[in-house]
């Protein structure tokens, strides 16, 4: 999102402005954006309006259902579910946004390098991408998690290292096409360096892929974090994340008797991912010049 914002003031105002215009008439995308803004605001400001802290235990109030004191009930050690939900949201979103930022940078650089670097570099890099896509994620996760430990930073690392290959392929495909266009050929002919090619021509021409990919990938990263925590490899308790709160649903007792302990994080997660997907889709349509035809 921030990328889109900063770019809109740059030289390529025309298409971006048109894209924004298209985005704003897309009702679903706007709904998604509003939901997202509400969630982000709530998550960021919760200490101001909610008196419980996420790790405050109360052994006399275990597994209590929603009430006026605990709106979303309490968990197995008497912690307030709403407070943990908000804190978990901070962690999940932080992990998702940071890891996507990292993987977008890696994905763009590798994809661009591959397309502008010549046949040999291209071949080598693409084999490397294939390798990264072939490696079973479970092993990769296990090893990274056990070397780096569980926690926020390792989880960010794992997710960012897992998600760049697809983007790099997309960037490469786009830039391969671009490479043969006249203005790039001209720039090369005038002796433009790799950096110039990448950032003056490559980046602006990939910006739509990057923005759309990054948005949708944030949704995936949230799901991936949840999956990791479910396997016990992500954010380790007592630090809250939506993934490890959902993990409680593994126990049948929690699943059927303490519904509020997994229903709220589950709903928050699905709603957030849904909203991001709406926004991402809206962006994709907005960037797609052909969508004017419809």
């Amino acid at each position: 999102m921030s990328v889109a914002g900063s770019i809109s003031s740059s030289a390529r105002k025309g298409p971006i402005a048109r894209a924004l215009e298209r985005f704003t008439i897309n009702r679903i995308a706007l709904v998604g954006l509003v939901i997202l803004l509400c969630i982000v605001t709530a998550v960021l400001t919760y200490p101001l309006w909610w008196s419980y802290t996420p790790n405050q235990i109360d052994l006399r109030a275990l597994n209590k259902g929603p009430s006026s004191a605990h709106w979303f009930g309490t968990d197995g050690v008497g912690r307030d579910v709403l407070a943990r939900l908000m804190q978990g949201g901070r962690v999940s979103l932080l992990v998702a946004v940071t890891s996507v930022a990292i993987s977008t940078v890696i994905g763009f650089l590798i994809g661009a390098l591959s397309s502008f670097g010549g046949r040999v570099v291209d071949g080598a890099v693409m084999r490397f991408v294939d390798l990264a896509m072939t490696l079973p994620p479970v092993i990769f996760l296990l090893v990274l998690a056990s070397i780096a430990g569980t926690g926020i930073l390792p989880t960010i690392l794992v997710i960012s290292l897992l998600s760049w290959p697809v983007l790099s392929r997309m960037v490469r495909a786009r830039l391969l096409e671009l490479r043969e266009r006249d203005f790039v050929v001209a720039a090369r002919g005038m002796g433009a360096g790799l950096g110039h090619l990448l950032f003056r021509h490559g980046l602006p021409n990939c910006i739509d892929i990057l923005v759309v990919y990054a948005t949708l990938q944030i949704a995936n990263a949230i799901l991936l974090e949840a999956g990791l925590s479910f396997l016990g490899l992500g954010i380790a308790p007592p630090e809250a994340s939506w993934g490890n709160m959902l993990n409680a649903a593994r126990s049948t007792v929690v699943l059927e008797q303490y519904v509020w302990q997994w229903m709220f994080p589950g709903a928050a997660l699905v709603l957030t991912v849904l909203a991001i997907n709406f926004v991402g889709d809206g962006l994709r349509d907005a960037f797609d010049p052909r969508s004017d035809l419809h």
């Binding site: 790790n55 405050q56 235990i57 052994l59 006399r60 275990l62 197995g76 050690v77 008497g78 912690r79 056990s146 430990g149 569980t150 016990g232 380790a236 308790p237 007592p238 993990n247 409680a248 593994r250 126990s251 049948t252 007792v253 929690v254 059927e256 008797q257």
Partner: protein, 527 residues
């Protein structure tokens, strides 16, 4: 084009399915008991070699049998393959009278099989865990087919307990293997031959093990026709299968118990875990040298509140490594919850300078939801007095890899939340607490060196008089209570849940699965 092909393929599949969909052709008149016998901490899915078993004895004991075995209360050792046994006064000579029994393939069981098994188990090449434990055995004699005499070079108070875990193996089937081959042989999982009430039929990898009744079992033909041990990825999956009516028994986590209590279809089986949980202080980091700090940890944690709330009352607070009545002396410090006192002790010990509020990793291999709650409670309680611990959960191999590394990084486990077997044989704690058991010798990975504790253990291990033994272990308890090598927490109960259709079913949550005389031949399934 692809759509057309897909439709065609789908229609084909549907057609084939429709013509072949017949009701399950299984022989439903057979009485089959299905259970998750290797679920939970006492189980060991996928291990079939009893010589290398570190758990799963409940299941192994359904088709293999040891010479002697614990009774189902785990209070005494009684006969199994041996109908009776005698010990000489010097406790160096054990004489066993053997029962008449045939192996599952019809060959007679004799004293030569016992001799073969003991000698095999002493041979380290078989990859056995018994080699060291049977070190005291000097000879095995077979005066006749039904008598075995085992001689020890020195008395060993744990010898009979070791024998309960040694499943007797058939000489005629295994003599052709070299010991090395046996360690990795597929024999164990394809056609093992035992003497138990059920015989091995098949193992479907990672799915289940199937046994069928041994028609001529010496204690009577089993009431059930088949016993099936299903494998589950975790306890939650086994609980789902139990509730779906697919299995009749499984171990369950204690937080699952409320879902079964008071329901007619299920019977909850409760028993002591014989595992004492503790916070272990790593003596190689400078945090815990001062006993006042260790005391402060004890005072800071409201163990009774955790037991009452998180364990639903089903645990016993431990003030030393033991909770069994005969092992706990009068006059122990109960370390009643007292955060003010904990703070005072920390202030006296200069905790501000030792560590202050810097985070301390609390490492554990317990990955159940309940353990996560316990760790959260412990973290919150210690934070109240100014000790900032951060729980870290790793899987068992990682945990073992860290603590038993050749040159361990002690900062990875300054504090651990762990458990160790403290019964039925109380000597189990020695290996984790005796100064002589520091790695590479034993499992004292916290490098505890407390002379009082070590001396108490040495005295207890050397005691040959059974009457004096409890008093010796009371001294161990006293020393642990005063020196606090660990902040001992509790001994929790463990649970199994059986369908009420299952009659005369015996199961106890013994550490490593026992073994114990469960008499599977009496298990019956009502329609």
């Amino acid at each position: 084009m692809p759509l057309k092909m897909m439709t065609l393929a789908l229609a084909g599949v549907a057609l084939a399915g429709a013509t072949m969909l017949t009701p399950p052709a299984a022989a439903q008149d057979q009485k089959t008991i299905t259970g998750g016998f290797d679920v939970g901490p006492g189980g060991f899915q996928g291990n079939f070699n009893p010589l290398a078993a570190t758990g799963g004895f409940t299941w192994l004991n359904v088709y293999f049998e040891p010479l002697v075995n614990y009774n189902a209360d785990l209070t005494a050792i009684e006969g199994a393959m041996a109908t009776e046994y005698a010990v000489n006064p010097g406790q160096t000579e054990y004489t066993f009278k053997l029962a008449k029994e045939t192996w599952h393939d019809g060959k007679p069981f004799t004293s030569k099989d016992v001799k073969f098994t003991v000698e095999l188990a002493k041979n380290g090449e078989t990859g056995t865990v018994f080699a060291a434990r049977l070190g005291a055995v000097s000879s095995v004699e077979t005066p006749d087919e039904r008598t075995v005499v085992i001689k020890l070079s020195k008395p060993d108070s744990g010898f009979l307990a070791t024998l309960t875990k040694l499943m007797i193996l058939p000489e005629h089937a295994l003599a052709s293997f070299t010991p090395k081959e046996l360690a990795t042989s597929t024999w164990w999982a394809t056609n093992p031959i035992g003497t138990g009430p059920f015989k091995f039929k098949q193992y479907v990898t990672d799915q289940y093990v199937e046994l069928v009744a041994d028609e001529d079992y010496r204690l009577g033909r089993p009431k059930a026709d088949r016993v099936i041990n299903r494998y589950f990825k975790n306890t939650a999956a086994a609980v789902s299968a139990l509730r779906a009516g697919e299995i009749q028994f499984t171990y369950v986590e204690s937080d699952d118990v409320p879902a079964f209590k008071g329901k007619n279809e299920f019977k909850v089986i409760e028993g002591q875990s014989f595992v004492v949980n503790y916070l272990g202080f790593n003596q190689q980091v400078p945090l815990w040298k001062d006993v006042r700090v260790r005391q402060a940890v004890m005072y800071a944690i409201d163990r009774q509140a955790i037991i009452d709330s998180l364990y639903g009352g089903a645990a016993t607070a431990a003030n030393c490594g033991y909770v069994a009545k005969q092992l706990v002396p009068e006059g122990l410090n109960a370390y009643k919850f007292d955060p003010a006192k904990a703070k005072a002790l920390l202030a006296e010990a200069g905790w501000d300078k030792v560590n202050g509020t810097k985070p301390i990793t609390l490492l554990t291999y317990y990955n159940t939801p309940q353990a996560a709650n316990v760790m959260a409670a412990v973290q919150a309680m210690l934070a109240q007095v100014g000790i900032n611990v951060v729980p870290r959960v790793v899987d068992t191999p990682t945990y073992n890899g860290m603590i038993y590394a050749a040159s361990p990084d002690f900062n990875q486990f300054p504090l651990v939340y762990a458990g160790l077997q403290n019964g039925p044989d109380p000597s189990g704690l020695n290996i984790g607490l005796n100064a002589a058991q520091k790695p590479p010798a034993g499992a004292n990975f916290l490098r505890i060196e407390m002379p009082e504790v070590t001396q108490a253990f040495d005295a207890a291990l050397a005691e040959t008089n059974q009457q004096q033994l409890s008093a010796r272990y009371q001294n161990v308890c006293k020393a642990m209570n005063a020196n606090l090598p660990w902040a001992t927490m509790w001994v929790a109960n463990r649970y199994g849940v059986a369908s009420t259709k299952l009659k005369d079913f015996v199961w106890v949550p013994a550490p490593a699965g026992g073994p114990y005389n469960a008499h599977p031949e009496k298990w019956a399934l009502e329609k």
